[in-house]
């Protein structure tokens, strides 16, 4: 099953060729086409997965648990597909929105190394290997933030790097402890050992380190401060890419760890996850409500939405896990969509300040419609994707008697709605403030709308074909809840 490594090899090869041929003109083509190829690979792997079941590759011929094993299961495959879609859309978006001072070839080099890191984190079945992919991701994303070489970008980048390196160190420390206690770093092997372990409380030291490390990456409640202080500084294409991918990798690893092998002490850990989820939702939503700069609103909003994914993990039933997965993929698409829309608003008006823009509904109804789809998806209006994702989570919450978190999730929905309506009112409905109006307003071309149109269509289709998506994520949820298929696939039983 060598084809499993393709999501890593493809971006790697493209990155090397971009290093060799440093032509900005060529990179304009390489970016979208390369990410389209990644999407094709991801779809092909998903097709293979449907036929063969969970696929594994023992790299270097070292059998599990001794070597590093790459695994594509339902969750990985889904995340690969969605992240490749995001990458493709962002490549289209970046082609139109990168400023002169950012060389295309440089941007795409780090774009593809970032994607390699993200894909690697999704398909690896080894904890240390996961750490390596996190580092690949962290370094590329740091360069991407500071690519414009502006002062505030460096400031934001340093904050981002400092807090995330803290996270990586805690990750590494937890990893060392885990290896010391169990003698293995293979995820399936860990699951085999820890699921039958009666001294589970001894694992809590590693668990708390992993929890904090991934909490920083996923930007959950007390650990999210790096996100709003760095996400509004880089070029909007970079911000949209990060919004779609980075925190979700953290969520993915949390889901993977806390379903596969950290499940012995559920009364403590999954309750803690629920508390963190509730606080994340509310604090992110409240903070988003208090800002009038689109990128800041949306950045806080990312945090708020992370809470829902953690909530699904905390409830820990097959339906809740499926809901969390559905919510994650819906959120990747819709969140990137709103960021892209914010970028387009700023492109027309030249600013991200909501107080200085207005009148876009009359001026540009197409953009208004394209904005409202992902925005309403986030707010959870039927028949767009967000409604079904939230519905699953709420139903799972009520089914398992977690009324408090369900109520919090419902109420946070209003906060989300408030933020979205605020952007809608300020940017689209209200009249353009006279004294702030710009003289040169940019007219958008059809290629400017393309990225947003693709994301809006994806969000809408996920809503319209919700039953088949539901079926797929339920399969994922079942497999996460009962990971014996995963373990057996890795050990080729």
């Amino acid at each position: 099953m060598n084809s499993i490594a393709l999501p890593l090899l493809l971006p790697f090869a493209i990155a090397i060729s971009l290093l060799l041929v440093r032509s900005d003109k060529l990179s304009k083509w390489v970016g979208p086409l390369g990410s389209l190829a990644m999407l094709a690979v991801a779809v092909y792997l998903n097709f293979q997965l449907q036929q063969n079941g969970i696929m594994t590759l023992n790299t270097g011929g070292w059998i599990a648990p001794f070597g590093i094993v790459l695994v594509v299961d339902h969750l990985s495959s889904l995340m690969l597909m969605v992240s490749a879609l995001i990458a493709f859309v962002i490549a289209l978006f970046a082609n139109r929105n990168l400023t002169e001072d950012i060389p295309m070839s440089r941007f795409y080099f780090f774009f593809f190394t970032l994607n390699m890191g993200v894909n690697g984190a999704f398909i690896t079945g080894d904890v240390f290997n996961l750490y390596v992919w996190f580092e690949v991701m962290l370094l590329s994303s740091f360069v991407l933030i500071t690519l414009g070489k502006k002062k505030e970008q460096l400031e934001g980048g340093i904050k981002y790097l400092a807090l995330n390196i803290m996270g990586s160190m805690l990750f590494l420390a937890g990893l060392g402890l885990l290896y010391g206690k169990t003698g293995t770093l293979n995820m399936a092997h860990l699951a085999e050992i820890l699921r039958n372990d009666h001294h589970a409380s001894l694992m809590s030291t590693s668990m708390v380190l992993f929890f904090v490390a991934f909490g920083i990456k996923a930007a959950v409640f007390p650990l999210y401060f790096w996100l709003p202080s760095s996400y509004h500084t880089p070029n909007i294409a970079v911000t949209s890419l990060f919004a779609g991918l980075l925190t979700k990798v953290g969520v993915y690893t949390l889901i993977r760890f806390f379903t596969l092998f950290f499940v012995q002490d559920q009364t403590f850990w999954h309750t803690l996850l629920l508390i963190v989820a509730g606080l994340t939702m509310v604090s992110g939503g409240m903070a988003a409500a208090s800002y009038y700069e689109t990128r800041r609103i949306l950045s806080y909003h990312i945090i708020s939405q992370i809470g829902y994914m953690i909530m699904g993990l905390g409830i820990f039933t097959p339906l809740a896990l499926a809901g969390a997965v559905f919510f994650t993929i819906h959120n990747m698409i819709a969140k990137t969509g709103t960021f892209v829309a914010a970028g387009l608003i700023a492109k027309i008006k030249g600013t991200y300040e909501l107080k200085e823009v207005g009148g876009l509904y009359k001026q540009n109804p197409v953009l208004a419609i394209l904005f409202i789809i992902p925005a309403f998806a986030l707010a959870g209006f039927p028949p767009i994707s967000g409604f079904f994702a939230k519905f699953m989570l709420l139903k799972a919450g009520i089914d398992s008697g977690q009324y408090l978190i369900t109520a919090v999730a419902l109420l946070t929905g209003f906060l989300t709605l408030y933020s979205m309506i605020k952007i809608w009112n300020e940017a689209f409905l209200k009249k353009q403030p006279e004294e702030k109006s710009q003289i040169t307003e940019v007219k958008l071309k059809i290629m400017d709308y393309m990225p947003l149109a693709i994301l809006a269509a994806a969000s809408l289709l996920m809503g319209l074909f919700a039953p088949s998506v539901f079926e797929y994520v339920m399969q994922t949820g079942d497999q996460l809840f009962e990971p014996s298929a995963y373990i057996n696939a890795v050990f080729k039983k």
């Binding site: 060598n2 490594a5 090899l9 790697f12 090869a13 990155a15 090397i16 290093l19 060799l20 440093r22 590759l57 023992n58 790299t59 270097g60 011929g61």
Partner: protein, 138 residues
């Protein structure tokens, strides 16, 4: 800094360092050493003249851009993944064969060594890039 001793020495020490770095690289598979340390040494050896004279000399002397080193290294790494896939059916599997050298046991050469060479060049590239950026007066 303007030290005549260092300037004269730099000519010779440089080559010694390069030779030493290659030795480090070659013994790396089973003994301490390897591509990373070798690459750091080689990168430093190339920077040696820059330290002895002014950093601008170093930039003038380096005809090859550091990106080329990095690209070369990464390409070698990329190539080293494939022989295992073609011959044994598993990506990154090590393929070894022995080069017969008269009067010795022969030297074992394999794809992991190719990987090491790739790391060696990539690290040289990165080291030079760092030194370029640090000596940048702008």
């Amino acid at each position: 800094m303007n030290s005549v001793i260092l300037q004269i020495a730099s000519k010779y020490v440089r080559w010694m360092l390069i030779i030493f770095s290659v030795i480090m690289l070659v013994r790396g598979h089973n003994l301490p050493g390897g591509g990373f340390i070798g690459g750091l040494l080689a990168g430093l050896s190339l920077a040696y003249k820059g330290f002895a004279f002014t950093p601008s000399i170093f930039e003038k002397e380096m005809k090859i851009r550091p990106e080329i080193f990095m690209a070369l290294g990464l390409t070698l790494i990329f190539i080293s993944l494939w022989p295992g896939a073609v011959l044994e059916g598993t990506l990154m599997q090590g393929i070894w064969f022995t080069i017969q050298i008269p009067f010795t046991e022969g030297y074992k050469f394999g794809t992991p060594f190719l990987f090491d060479i790739g790391v060696y060049f990539a690290v040289i590239g990165v080291t030079i890039l760092f030194l370029f950026s640090l000596s940048d007066k702008k």
